[in-house]
């Protein structure tokens, strides 16, 4: 039997003694000196068990992501990694076989971030496809595909993307992602509820064939529990496949922290003074487990999530945070209609309007967690609970070009036209809202359900379907085509075929939804 040479162990001091890269960048998994790379470093087998991902695309840059986890479901949340830093090399190539590597570098996976790394890669060409992979020790990750955004000012011929939300792993298989992984996409927009905080028990474990250990049975609270929950959800191969397919641009809704929370307010009796501690670990785990840029790394209980992406001059995507700054649920009707109520907080609201009004983009998109369209007065977790803020948003949309809202949250496909005055359905149509159903939350679902009448009572709601799926969109300078895709079942397996239940065209300059077919 061959004798294995004892692998060297790199400690923090070793890294910090190396020059050229700041200690902060090293510690945060952003960059590290090339000299840190050492393929003889001992790394447990199966270290890329959570897959790879990319996100935050720019015209010349992208963020890559992986999290070393040879035992993703280790109860301490550290994925089976030793509690020491490990160097990780990355490569970006223009071909899938990595004959033409255009960028490479080294980062440090540290236990402070659950051995997640987020290397920021720049110097890329606009609007083109790249492939990437990681190496830790002698182990090489799966290959991921990513794509940069069109160049600044370029009016791209088209931009295709999918939207997804609400992936309650325990409610079923990710058959919708199995199909999404076969799409040709420039980006994926995730609009909230990447994880759920609830305990997973016999009562809600509907994913046939799946079992979980007792650690998963309790509502999550500590950082190790949030890390473990992300690992459980990310263990799904179809989710990993979509992460490896295209860059993701993500926002959160409530379940990344706690059901229906807002700002520092819990709906479950946790005082604001205490709730910020829960938010701090939840936001930390969100950053650790998704391909986000360093600007989103939380500072205590605060994290800067709202940001903007320009796909050349074709589309501007405003990624909103509809949780961290919102006012508390209304105490009464007077409170609900108070002109001062805010969903976004004053700073984000002004930032949004500044980015929408006078935007050079053909399409101006808000990517947000909760439904904007007016549905019922008692849906106070949605923009229905913030009517004055919605009116200000609609006003800003009217000063923008071709506004579009992408939403999740409700576990239903809904397509709605956004009205200048929702109380007057004959008022002008300002833009459209495309709400994607859940990937898994609520199990199989059905075309209609007990909530259907609330939605279709409005003439401006053009589609309602309660089955699982995603929305595929293709933008051109002339039109936006949205296809609402579903699978008939998810509880039994991930094998259900894909169906398109509705296709709409929205023409540039003519807001509205034209149903096709």
């Amino acid at each position: 039997m061959a004798q294995r040479r004892a692998a060297p162990i790199l400690d923090r001091r070793t890294f910090l003694q190396l020059s050229g890269v700041s200690s902060a960048a090293i510690a945060l998994g952003i960059a590290a000196p090339e000299a840190a790379a050492d393929e003889s470093v001992n790394v447990p087998d199966g270290v890329f068990g959570l897959g790879v991902a990319s996100g935050e695309p720019g015209a010349r840059s992208v963020v890559l992501w992986t999290r070393l986890a040879p035992e993703p479901l280790a109860p301490d949340g550290h994925g089976g990694m030793p509690l020491r830093p490990v160097p990780v090399r990355w490569e970006v190539a223009t071909d899938e076989s990595f004959r033409r590597v255009v960028r490479r570098g080294t980062v440090v996976a540290s236990p402070e971030l659950a051995h997640a790394v987020h290397p920021h890669v720049d110097g890329l060409q606009p609007g083109r496809e790249y492939f990437y992979r990681f190496t830790a020790g002698r182990q090489v990750s799966p290959v991921g595909r990513t794509k940069t955004l069109p160049a600044r000012g370029e009016l791209a011929a088209s931009f295709s993307f999918a939207t997804a939300s609400c992936q309650a792993w325990y409610h079923g298989h990710f058959g919708a992602y199995r199909h999404m992984a076969a799409e040709e996409l420039d980006a994926v927009f995730f609009v909230g509820d990447y994880i759920y905080e609830y305990g997973i028990t016999d009562a809600n474990l509907w994913r046939q064939g799946a079992t979980v250990t007792p650690e998963h049975a309790v509502e999550i609270e500590t950082l190790e529990q949030y890390r473990l929950r992300y690992a459980l959800f990310k263990s799904d191969p179809h989710l990993q496949a979509v992460h490896a397919l295209a860059p993701w641009i993500v926002t959160w809704d409530d379940h990344e922290v706690q059901n229906n929370y807002g700002a520092d307010g819990s709906r479950y009796g946790v005082s604001p003074e205490h709730f910020v501690h829960l938010r701090a670990v939840a936001y930390r785990a969100f950053y650790e487990n998704l391909p986000l840029s360093l600007s989103t790394l939380p500072d205590g209980p605060d994290a800067a999530l709202y940001r903007r992406f320009d796909a050349g001059s074709l589309a501007r995507f405003n990624i909103l945070d509809t949780r961290q700054y919102r006012d508390a649920p209304p105490a009464d009707t007077d409170d609900q209609y108070d002109e001062r109520r805010t969903m976004l907080g004053p700073e984000q609201e002004q930032w949004l309007y500044d980015g929408m009004i006078g935007s050079p983009a053909t399409w101006n998109v808000c990517v947000n967690g909760v439904t904007v369209a007016a549905i019922t007065e008692d849906r106070t977790d949605q923009w229905d609970g913030y009517p004055a803020a919605r009116r200000r948003l609609i006003d800003a949309m009217q000063q923008s070009t071709n506004p579009v809202v992408l939403t999740g949250d409700i576990h239903r496909h809904v397509a709605a036209e956004l009205k200048a005055d929702f109380a007057d359905p004959s008022s002008s149509t300002v833009g459209v809202e495309l709400i994607c159903s859940s990937i898994a939350s609520d199990g199989d679902g059905s075309p209609t359900d007990r909530y259907t009448p609330d939605w279709i009572q409005h003439p401006y709601v053009k589609l309602y379907d309660g089955r699982r799926g995603y929305v595929h969109c293709r933008m051109t300078p002339e039109e936006l085509t949205s296809e609402f895709k579903i699978v008939q079942w998810i509880r039994a397996d991930a094998d259900a075929p894909l169906e398109t239940v509705a296709r709409f065209v929205t023409r540039a300059g003519t807001p509205g939804l034209e149903k096709q077919g």
């Binding site: 400690d11 923090r12 301490d76 949340g77 550290h78 509690l83 020491r84 830093p85 540290s110 236990p111 402070e112 971030l113 659950a114 305990g199 049975a217 309790v218 509502e219 609270e221 500590t222 950082l223 190790e224 819990s266 709906r267 479950y268 009796g269 946790v270 205490h274 501690h277 829960l278 701090a280 670990v281 930390r284 500072d299 205590g300 209980p301």
Partner: protein, 284 residues
């Protein structure tokens, strides 16, 4: 990797003994330390606690811990807390603190009428743990329970709704406990009302009436809004937030023969029962 010496220990560990629980709090470490959780260690009836797996009571992200499920007897516990940071490194243990819980009248007194067990669970009640949708059909006129004859599993609903509950008809709800006394206690007696949970934001209040005399309006603590679907607050990691009310009922309210104690929930949302009882005080 952060060394243990660099992970700050918490300070200001203190606590208060209450009915069936001890509430600890402390000063959290500054935000500069990314905390995974605080590990709370405790042992009953000792001078100090060894920080080891066997004495780990809980991991919490909050600078606060409710040590629940201690039962009605007074218990003395000693605690220490360890900070665990995002890298998995641990601080040195905090200074210890010793706290005793308060004895319940359900232990010190003699039961005159009791429904349920004072054990942190509501599983013995009708419709528990999640049958609230059948409340209206099962208890259209509320609860009218005769101690000694009726059974908690059929006669006393696990939830007492309030007028804020649409699933219970958005109306007031009366729960009545009837019990016979062969001899009226000469001293004051005590009411013990233990809840495993309540609505988090609008637990509301209820009017307490004994033999037709309005005694008080009982105001309930906010719970976690989870007790409508879960019946055991003693399960490790349970999200339920129990609360406890024990108060004196003045001598003279009770009578020979049948007595009635009523809770009229005309404010807010539901409460979830652990147990309710009336207790005579021990002689002397």
């Amino acid at each position: 990797m952060t060394t243990a010496a660099k992970v700050p220990a918490i300070t200001g560990l203190d606590g208060e003994g209450e009915l069936a629980r001890i509430v600890l709090d402390w000063t959290p470490v500054p935000w500069e330390t990314v905390v995974d959780h605080y590990a709370v260690y405790g042992v009953r009836g000792a001078d100090d606690v060894d920080v080891e797996p066997d004495t780990l009571l809980a991991k919490t992200v909050y600078p606060y811990f409710e040590h629940r499920g201690l039962g009605g007897a007074s218990e003395q516990w000693v605690y220490r807390v360890v900070t665990v940071d995002a890298a998995g490194s641990r601080s040195r243990p905090s200074a210890p603190v010793t706290i005793s819980s308060v004895e319940s009248v359900s232990v010190s007194g003699t039961p005159l009428a009791v429904v349920g067990e004072f054990d942190g669970k509501g599983l013995e009640f009708a419709l528990s743990p999640d049958g609230y949708a059948q409340y209206n059909a099962t208890f259209p006129d509320g609860v009218d329970f005769r101690y000694g004859t009726d059974q908690a599993g059929t006669g006393w609903s696990y939830l007492q709704p309030g007028p804020a509950d649409s699933w219970a008809g958005r109306r007031d709800h009366l729960f009545r406990l009837r019990f016979d006394l062969a001899e009226v206690p000469t001293d004051d007696v005590d009411l013990a009302l233990w809840l495993i949970d309540s609505h988090a934001t609008i637990p509301g209040s209820a009017v307490l009436t004994v033999n037709g005399t309005e005694v008080d309006r009982l105001t309930f603590d906010g719970g976690a809004t989870k007790g409508s679907t879960q019946g055991d607050s003693t399960v490790p990691g349970s999200p339920l937030k129990p609360s406890y009310i024990e108060r004196t009922l003045p001598a003279g309210l009770l009578a020979d023969g049948e007595n009635t104690l009523e809770l009229f929930k005309d404010d807010g949302s539901w409460i979830a029962y652990d147990a309710i009882g009336v207790f005579a005080r021990a002689a002397g």
